[in-house]
């Protein structure tokens, strides 16, 4: 830890005062002192920007709110948005949620050498993750995940609600064989009751996936669904962009153009 490169927000810059000394000498000195300095002084403190949402437990988090995110949500909810715009901006919001979701994955420290011959104290994500989308609207998020992790394994679950009983039941599920050993990024953009997600998590649990190894990536959730899910699965990580009483249920229809 603590090569010169760890310039995170909280680190006091210490080198510019010496900038008049020769760069090479400075360089060597840094390398020598780097080990000593690092541990105690410059331990990288990576803190997530995500804040838990009050009332839904410690693992239910929102991506950082900004005017920008709000605009994306506005466009997605607007009934007058054209399909092309809808898909474009939905993909952007998905990408933001996916990027934040990846931050929840485990990593380990490592040191690499840069082309200038210096050491950089970086980190490496632990292998053994996979994505699982809930058919159909969850599949809209697969591309966003694949844009970040090119070769990630993807499982699928098809949950249908029975037209008569309104009960969700699993029709189809296909996962990587060793899913129980993996962290699972479960993708489902809209939660209005939460029933579909509960069914899907149940299936994952049947495949021996631990609750705490599931990260649910979601765009819009109702407070009711948030409450239900965090009650049933208190240890599951949940990431969403907005909790709002009205869920934009047209998402899948409009994204895939079947409205």
């Amino acid at each position: 830890m603590g090569t010169m490169s760890e310039v995170v927000t909280s680190r006091p810059p210490t080198f510019e005062k010496k900038s008049s000394t020769s760069q090479a000498a400075l360089h060597d000195k840094q390398r020598q002192t780097e080990a000593a300095q690092s541990k105690e002084k410059y331990d990288v403190h990576i803190e997530s920007q995500l804040q838990p949402v009050e009332g839904f437990g410690p693992y239910f988090k929102l991506i950082p709110a900004s005017g920008q995110v709000k605009e994306l949500q506005t466009i997605i909810r607007d009934r007058n948005t054209s399909r092309s715009d809808f898909k474009f901006y939905a993909d952007r919001l998905i990408r933001l949620v996916v990027e934040e979701g990846l931050n929840q994955l485990p990593y380990s420290d490592c040191t690499i050498t840069t082309p200038t011959g210096c050491q950089y104290q970086g980190l490496q994500f632990v292998k053994g993750n996979c994505g699982v989308s809930i058919v159909r609207s969850g599949e809209a998020m697969e591309q966003g995940l694949r844009s970040c992790c090119r070769s990630i394994r993807l499982g699928k679950i098809l949950v249908e609600s029975d037209l008569e009983t309104h009960e969700a039941r699993v029709v189809y599920a296909k996962f990587p064989d060793d899913i129980s050993q993996r962290k699972v990024l479960l993708m489902y953009p809209i939660m209005s009751s939460g029933n579909t997600v509960i069914k899907a998590v149940n299936v994952l649990q049947e495949h021996a996936v631990a609750e705490e190894n599931i990260i649910l990536l979601n765009l819009f959730s109702t407070p009711a669904a948030a409450r239900t899910i965090t009650t049933v699965f208190p240890k599951m990580h949940i990431l969403t962009s907005e909790v709002h009483p009205v869920a934009p249920n047209h998402f899948g229809q409009k994204y895939f153009g079947t409205d």
């Binding site: 900004s66 005017g67 605009e71 909810r77």
Partner: protein, 553 residues
């Protein structure tokens, strides 16, 4: 048609003779040889100044260009000569004529150009003097403005007179001095100017104009350079070239008859009817305004030496050696408020680990840097004002209180080459976004940044600009690019500088020079090494991304 030929010594008249001509002709200075091969070697994108590009010409450049076999001036001489030669080897040094070195000090503030006015009778050797001054000066960038460009547009009747050699091109009324003063003033402020290109065949201004910027030194030359009081006020130094009238007549005769194939009678008639009276009435009396009178024109080495020394003294107070100064500038500890560093999340550090690793294959380097770029752009977008509240109809029938972006006008400007890698990400988040480009290269000899190429949307001043460069070391290139944008009247608050990696120095230099520019980056490294690479850094981002690393590595 007297004025048409009277004031261009052979060295400058060739500047307009059409870029297609390739036959070279050794002009009076046997020292000047062109050497573009070396220049091209050091600059991946070899500068080819387009006719409307920001490439002011030095008068010396004109001297290198090939005249047509029949010398026939068709346009004014401060027109861009679509030159093939970006540099010129002088006796002692190299004069760069294509790239634009910094024209502001290390705080990003404009350095007022030094304006030299050169006046003198027709064929007195004004351009030779101007050129020798430039050679004496150790100044890399010079703009030559010629009074020729400012001839008034002729009416139908005057046009006919001109055809019969009966229009007086030597009279002050033939020039638009108001425009001269306006142009010089803007050049002095470092602003972009559109200099008219005068067509001597149609006696009209061409629809195209020549774009010029203020330089370290601006030389304004012309027979009536000291005529207008408004123009006089703008000249920092006034040089009058006083050549004996017999000698000037001889030169004119030689030039017009031998080189332009005109008749002796016509030339003499023109001389006595217009050229000589104009000299006696308007040009010679303006000598009183001169600070220095140079007898014998260009041969007068002593006078030129004195002038150059004086100019140098003035210029030395005006911050050159920009990048070195930037690298060594000392700043306080606190990070400026205009710096918006992305939160150092595991993803961002993980992406940095990939792209900083020298062993990362290009395929992965591209993929992971693209991801990082996307995050920077998204973050920069969140910093724009999104103040506009709107209520939209939803398919669920319940109105939704949302927000819309306050400005539609966002434009990306990438600093070639590494900045181009970020364009795609901008297009991915903003539909149909406009993209401008700026090419800034480091001059390998001086280590200074130089401006080579510029394409920006016309109404760029109304836009929010995302200025993109992958890495910012000393900030020299970014400061130059910001300066260019400001010269195009972009509002400083409307500029966001987006990059993947910066140095402490770069951040401070830019924030100090332009406190209102938003700086968005994913990491800040402590310093640069002696090659101006960031350490620990990423290496040469452009080379790694485009796969143009030197083969010995």
């Amino acid at each position: 048609m007297s004025g048409r030929f009277k004031q261009d010594p052979p060295s400058s008249a060739s500047s307009d003779s059409g870029g297609e001509e390739t036959a070279t002709r050794q002009m009076e200075d046997e020292e000047s040889t062109t050497d573009i091969g070396e220049m091209e070697g050091s600059h991946p994108t070899s500068p080819r100044p387009p006719s409307a590009g920001p490439h002011p010409q030095t008068p010396t450049q004109g001297a290198l260009r090939s005249p047509r076999s029949r010398r026939q001036r068709t346009t004014s001489q401060s027109q861009p000569s679509r030159s093939r030669e970006p540099i010129l080897r002088g006796r002692r040094r190299t004069i760069y004529t294509a790239g634009r070195p910094p024209w502001y000090d290390c705080q990003g503030q404009l350095v007022e150009p030094f304006v030299i006015g050169v006046c003198g009778g027709s064929a007195s050797g004004k351009t030779t003097v101007a050129r020798k001054i430039i050679e004496e000066l150790d100044v890399p960038w010079v703009t030559l403005l010629s009074l020729d460009s400012f001839y008034k547009v002729l009416s139908e009747k005057q046009h006919e007179e001109a055809a019969r050699n009966e229009y007086n091109f030597d009279h002050p009324d033939a020039f638009d001095f108001e425009l001269v003063a306006k142009t010089l003033l803007r050049l002095k402020e470092g602003k972009k100017v559109e200099v008219p290109i005068y067509n001597f065949v149609t006696h009209r201004r061409e629809t195209k104009t020549k774009t010029m910027y203020g330089a370290n030194v601006i030389i304004f030359e012309g027979i009536l350079a000291f005529y207008s009081p408004d123009v006089l006020k703008l000249l920092d130094m006034k040089v009058f070239v006083d050549t004996d009238s017999d000698e000037r007549l001889v030169r004119r005769l030689q030039r017009d008859i031998a080189e332009r194939g005109r008749e002796l009678d016509g030339v003499l008639k023109q001389y006595f009817k217009f050229v000589k009276p104009a000299f006696d009435y308007y040009i010679a009396p303006s000598m009183v305004h001169a600070d220095i009178i140079v007898p014998r024109g260009g041969e007068n080495e002593v006078a030129i030496n004195l002038i150059a020394q004086n100019v140098m003294t003035q210029l030395q107070q005006r911050g050159f050696k920009l990048r070195e100064k930037l690298a060594n500038a000392n700043f306080g500890i606190a990070r400026p408020n205009s710096l918006h560093l992305l939160p150092s999340t595991p993803q961002i550090r993980g992406l940095h680990t990939f792209i900083r690793n020298k062993d990362t294959p290009r395929d992965e380097f591209i993929f992971y840097s693209k991801r990082l770029i996307r995050l920077v752009i998204e973050h920069a977008l969140t910093l724009l004002p999104f103040t506009q509240d709107v209520t939209v109809e939803t398919p669920q029938g319940i109105p939704y209180e949302g927000k819309r972006i306050a400005t539609e006008k966002i434009c990306g400007v990438s600093i070639l080459r590494a900045g181009e890698t970020m364009e795609n990400a901008l297009c991915e988040v903003l539909k149909d976004v406009r993209i401008g480009k700026i090419l800034i290269q480091t001059n390998l000899d001086t280590g200074e940044p130089e401006l080579y190429y510029l394409r920006l949307p016309k109404d760029i001043k109304d836009y929010h600009i995302f200025l993109m460069d992958a890495t910012v070391a000393t900030g020299a290139a970014a400061i130059m690019a910001i300066r260019v944008l400001l010269d195009h009247e972009v509002t400083e608050e409307h500029i966001s500088l987006c990059s993947l990696l910066m140095t402490e120095q770069g951040v401070h230099n830019i924030a100090y020079a332009f406190p209102k520019v938003r700086i968005v980056t994913t990491a800040v490294d402590p310093c640069v090494n002696e090659k101006f690479y960031i350490v620990p850094g990423i290496g040469n981002f452009g080379d790694r991304y485009f796969g143009t690393e030197p083969s010995d590595q």
